[in-house]
């Protein structure tokens, strides 16, 4: 169903769609087969368009827009299998920008000259984001971190936003890529990208000054990540659906277009249904929450639903293609793989449902 957008939002979506026109499966394949995960120049272009500072308050040099705008851009990024980490950069910039005294790095993050990505996750099944096992010691604004993070999108990153447990609860810190005691161990993902384990050993880190408290900074960045991943998953679902519907309209068997078979029509309707439910949910969450204060239950709900439904949709899309869908040559598999990646990050559907039980007070 069509979204009820302002004309500015419509323009933003159009320009994001135009930007991804130059991306898509072909480019994604190119990066899959190369040592680089993305083109730094394209990230800077996204910066020039203002998207990396989309949530950063105008007073700090950003566009000062909301979650709806972020979701509109990331939905397109998902559709185009965009390799540049626009979402990660934008939410990291937001986390830096919400601070009353942003780190000097913020302006370079917004232009795309420096890449900062979140490093929050510690276990395969997600975890309580507010109780990280990574430890922060020391006082003041320079701390030492010891611990380990998993599944960090570290390729090309100059630094990380790391959550840790300090003396008074969780804190959010900036760790430079080349900081002392900071090591990375990357591993390939199915879609040719890399996720790294991040090891910190007494690593110096800058406290991202709290807004209004550092606990909230961790919470804010975590929930932002969930919404950002969900919006990108929505785009993946949409494009997989589009490709599949096109196929149903041209492939013939038994002398008929296969799209005329009722069993396949009903599965196509199921794909549409899942996609639309995710769209309504994400844009409702986006429209009703401030970027720095997202209702955690809503963020968990969005990520759980988008993760589950994106896998359902992309799996069904493979089936509707028959054997051609099982080949590496055909693009539809790239969408399944992107869905696998995005749905697994920061807690998959089951992990988010487990959190949701606790946060939404379902058993109380």
């Amino acid at each position: 169903m069509e979204l009820n957008l302002t004309s500015e939002q419509g323009l933003l979506r159009d320009s994001a769609a135009k930007f991804i026109g130059a991306a898509g499966p072909k480019i994604a394949r190119k990066f899959r087969d190369s040592d680089h995960s993305f083109a730094p120049q394209r990230l800077r272009e996204a910066g020039e368009l203002g998207w990396l500072g989309i949530l950063v308050p105008e007073s700090a040099g950003g566009l000062g827009l909301g979650l709806t705008e972020l979701a509109l851009v990331l939905e397109q990024a998902g559709r185009g299998l965009v390799c540049e980490p626009i979402g990660l950069a934008a939410i990291s910039a937001a986390a830096l920008g919400f601070a009353p005294k942003p780190l000097p790095l913020l302006s370079r993050v917004m232009t795309g000259d420096a890449l900062v990505v979140p490093a929050l996750q510690e276990r395969a099944h997600g975890d309580d984001p507010l109780e990280p096992s990574t430890e922060a010691t020391g006082t003041g604004t320079t701390l030492q971190l010891t611990g380990q993070k998993m599944f960090v999108c570290a390729d090309g990153a100059d630094g990380f936003l790391v959550s840790a447990s300090g003396r008074d609860g969780p804190v959010l810190c900036f760790v430079a890529r080349d900081a002392l005691g900071c090591t990375l161990q990357p591993a390939e993902t199915v879609d040719g990208r890399r996720l790294a384990a991040l090891y910190l050993d007494q690593t110096p880190a800058d406290l991202v000054s709290p807004y209004p408290s550092s606990r909230d900074a961790v919470d804010a960045l975590y929930n932002l990540s969930l919404v950002a991943l969900s919006a990108e998953l929505l785009g993946v679902m949409e494009e997989a659906q589009r490709i599949t519907l096109d196929y149903l309209r041209i492939r013939k068997q038994f002398g008929k277009l296969i799209g005329s078979f009722q069993a396949l029509q009903h599965q196509a309707a199921n794909i549409y249904l899942r996609t639309e439910a995710v769209r309504s949910l994400i844009f409702q969450v986006a429209g009703n929450n401030e970027p720095w204060r997202i209702d955690p239950a809503m963020a968990a709900a969005a990520k759980a639903k988008a993760s589950e439904d994106a896998l359902f949709v992309t799996e069904a899309c493979i089936q509707l293609h028959g054997a051609i869908g099982f080949t590496d040559e055909h693009d539809i598999g790239l969408y399944l793989k992107r869905a696998m990646l995005l749905s697994s990050l920061m807690g998959n559907a089951a992990a988010q449902r487990r959190r949701y039980v606790a946060i939404a007070g379902l058993t109380a």
């Binding site: 169903m1 069509e2 979204l3 009820n4 519907l245 149903l248 309209r249 277009l257 799209g259 005329s260 009722q262 396949l264 029509q265 009903h266 196509a268 309707a269 199921n270 549409y272 249904l273 639309e276 439910a277 995710v278 309504s280 949910l281 844009f283 409702q284 969450v285 009703n288 929450n289 209702d295 239950a297 809503m298 709900a301 759980a304 639903k305 589950e308 089951a350 449902r353 487990r354 949701y356 039980v357 939404a360 379902l362 058993t363």
Partner: protein, 383 residues
């Protein structure tokens, strides 16, 4: 649910909540099937006197002219208190149809009694031989000077035996091709001579619907809505609204509450496997609320919500069924008990709402038909 009320909405919510607490009789709360008219209509009339019976109707016709968010606040508060399911044939079907296609005289005569609850309406579309394939309907209305003569029968007519009037699709041109070009939309006074009505008991044990027989029933020609043989278009024009009405998240919210009470009572709430399903269900209820308000928002902006409303209908109805499946699972050994189950948190109806929920994927266009509609009309798949 996840909207934050504006100050005005918050005070409206408080007003609605305290008024409902004070005015909705306890005996009508958390009912799983629709209470009979003797119990339900006084409540309908109480809402009407308060001016809240038709939030979505414009003020000029006696509605509230409420904003979208006010309508959602109402829905949420009605769900919270467990308000009963009102008869919707007047409020959601014939009312809006008359506002769009009825003559001024028809509007004057029929709209006020819908608002004040003095007249109950029935929808006469389905026939024994015409269900999903509605265009094959055979009930004849022959125009004879200043009146029609109606012969045939309608079936599955909700509240047929409690209703005063029926809006019906009838065949006025037996030779028309395609078949739907020979159908007209008329209003029939169910107290007319020649009408016989037989209530039908459902699997849920209630007499929700009826069969209505017409034996040369005389219907004044002025009861024709719109033009002769133009009934198909009129019936379809507002289908989107009907589909939306049946997927109101109010019912899903009530079902979710019932599951939680039952699961706590039986102790299954502590089981992680059950918790996972409960979370999935609850997240889907949130998604349904989002979809529903998204759809209402589009219709309120007068962008036509045509076949897309099928998506909300399928999602809402199938979700309601899966919630009721979870309910009988939560109830364990109580699942098949006819009487409501007494728990430490109150009495919970289990089997009846489960059985009752089997209807929602059948009426208003079955799930299969809705998927056909989506595939052809929204996804443009080949025939």
């Amino acid at each position: 649910m996840f909207r934050h009320d504006t100050p005005a909405e918050a005070s409206f919510r408080t007003e609605v909540r305290s008024w409902l607490e004070a005015n909705l009789p306890g005996s009508l709360r958390d009912r799983t099937t629709r209470p009979p008219p003797v119990e339900l209509m006084p409540w309908y009339q109480t809402l009407s006197r308060k001016g809240w019976i038709a939030p979505h109707w414009p003020r000029q016709h006696g509605g509230m002219g409420a904003t979208l968010n006010e309508q959602i606040v109402m829905t949420e508060e009605l769900a919270r208190i467990g308000a009963p399911h009102l008869p919707v044939q007047g409020l959601n079907h014939i009312g809006p149809i008359l506002m769009e296609f009825g003559s001024e005289a028809q509007q004057k005569k029929h709209l006020p009694p819908i608002i004040d609850g003095s007249v109950i309406w029935a929808q006469g579309y389905s026939e024994p031989g015409a269900g999903s394939d509605l265009a094959s309907l055979a009930t004849r209305a022959t125009l004879n000077g200043d009146h029609f003569v109606v012969k045939g029968s309608k079936i599955w007519t909700t509240w047929g035996h409690h209703s005063d009037w029926m809006f019906a699709l009838v065949r006025t041109d037996p030779d028309a091709q395609p078949r739907h070009a020979g159908i007209s939309f008329i209003l029939i006074d169910l107290h007319s001579p020649g009408i016989r009505i037989r209530p039908i008991v459902t699997i849920a044990g209630d007499d929700e619907f009826a069969e209505v027989f017409f034996d040369d029933v005389v219907v004044p020609a002025e009861n024709l809505v719109g033009k002769l043989n133009d009934g198909w278009r009129i019936a379809n024009a507002l289908l989107g609204h009907e589909r939306l009405g049946t997927s109101n998240p109010q019912f899903a919210l009530q079902a979710l509450e019932r599951i939680k009470v039952m699961a706590r009572a039986t102790g299954i709430i502590a089981d992680p496997a059950f918790q996972d399903r409960l979370a999935a269900a609850s997240i889907n209820v949130t998604a349904l609320s989002a979809m529903f308000s998204h759809a209402v928002e589009l219709t309120n902006n007068e962008r036509s919500l045509g076949p897309e409303s099928s998506v909300v209908k399928i999602f809402g109805s199938e979700l309601l069924q899966s919630l009721n499946e979870l309910l009988i699972e939560a109830a364990g050994g109580h699942a098949a008990m006819e009487e409501p189950v007494a728990t430490n948190a109150g009495v919970v109806d289990v089997a009846v709402p489960f059985l009752f929920s089997r209807r929602v994927t059948i009426y208003g266009g079955s799930s299969e038909i809705q998927r056909n509609v989506l595939a052809r009309r929204v996804l443009n798949l080949p025939a």
